[in-house]
């Protein structure tokens, strides 16, 4: 087989690869989705997530290989809101200065777990395999709470205090854009969006009570 035939075969087989296997956005033509969240009244938008869901229910995306880290120093989860994608691992680090044990747990339907009590200098890891909000608590410390939001794809963004968001490296195609609020004060918003390669797509979403 000559060089030209091999190249043709490679191009042909690349078309045969189902779209559901697309998992490396950096190697594909990718676009940008950006916009602003608008909410009625003077409502803080902090601790809110915007994420993309594939319109193909069979689509699967490789999660980032790197785990996210959550500190427990001072009996506080930091960051208080961690955003990961399905399949990604979070390391819960007990980095207290003093001899203080923590016991991270969640009773949230997407991931119920109990990490047991462990002392400073140790870490426990959880891989989040279903999308949704996983609220975190410590069984020992009353005011210790946080949340891991597990997005269905690696294409997500935390909303800024000014309501803006920016999702990068999005493969071209059709998506549904959705919101999630840690303190839910509005119905979640959703809208279809078509992403074109190397081109920004603007989507402003309005949050409403009904």
């Amino acid at each position: 087989m000559g060089h030209r035939e091999l190249l043709t075969l490679l191009i042909f087989t690349s078309w045969l690869v189902p779209r559901t296997a697309m998992s490396a956005p950096a190697t594909q033509p990718a676009g940008l989705v950006r916009g602003k969240i608008i909410a009625a009244g003077d409502v803080p938008l902090a601790e809110m997530v915007v994420y993309l869901e594939s319109t193909d229910p069979a689509a699967r995306f490789d999660p980032p290989a790197q785990s996210a880290k959550v500190s427990q120093k001072g009996a506080k989860f930091a960051p208080a809101l961690t955003i990961v994608s399905v399949g990604q691992t979070v390391d819960f680090i007990n980095d207290e200065d003093g001899l203080i044990e923590h016991n991270v747990f969640s009773n949230a339907p997407p991931k119920k777990f109990d990490l047991g009590m462990y002392p400073p200098g140790q870490s426990r890891s959880v891989t989040f395999d279903k999308p949704g909000a996983v609220f975190l608590y410590c069984s020992i410390h009353r005011y210790m709470d946080g949340v891991v939001f597990v997005a269905p794809t690696p294409f997500h963004s935390r909303v800024g205090a000014d309501g803006t968001y920016r999702i990068t490296d999005v493969p071209a195609g059709n998506w549904t854009i959705k919101t999630w609020q840690r303190r839910r004060r509005f119905k979640e918003a959703a809208a279809p969006v078509t992403v074109e390669a190397d081109k920004p797509t603007n989507v402003d979403l309005e949050l409403r009570r009904r």
Partner: protein
Amino acid sequence: MKPSLLIVGLALLLSSCQQPPSSQTKGMASLFVHVRAEPKTGAGPSPQKVNVYDAPKQVDRGAFTRVDYFDLEDIVVWLEPAAGTPPAPAAAMTVDVDPAKKSASILDVASVGQRIVLHNASGSSQTIYSVSDGNDFDFESVPAGGQAEYTVRSPGLIEVLTNAPVDNSVKIYAAPSPWARLAHSGQTVAFNKLPPGQYRLVCWHPRLPGSQVDLTLTADHTSDASIEVSVNSLPKIEAGVRG
């Protein structure tokens, strides 16, 4: 106190505990439920209620305040009949809504089908609404002192919100049955005038996993049951393992 008096007192107390609740009706059953919150296995003791001169340790203050499993609030306990439908919902309940009043706790327990009167207890007009799953509603511009009515559609937590910028809400837990109580750990709650038969006793807490117990209640008899919320029932992830 003389030991004999103490014994008599204890005997009287115990005998009163065995009596069916005063509201017991012939042919019906009663149930005492002992509500518990179990700390993590192996954890040090929770801070017990102490006298004022027993100042808590520095480490137990502020962010390091420990969960008090002996007095854990916001535990919702209810009974569901194993067969058939629960009785008609209780009469309407009234809830004061005032965005200036902050409350992290569950205010009350309602049941599916029950009417909730939302009273605007603030000094100004409020939009009173909820976006809770299965129980969303929206009452625009309820005047100060005015009220709106909502009938509970689904079991679960209902957060009643207002359009005020402050992030305060009233939290009501809607149980699937009107045989429901709001309790704290260490409390014994009584359910009276229950038709004899098989039931499921269930408890829920905003953070800790609840539990359930199947019971058979017999006529003209008071039964006892315990139910607990505890982290110990969750799937464990050990050191060096990715759960």
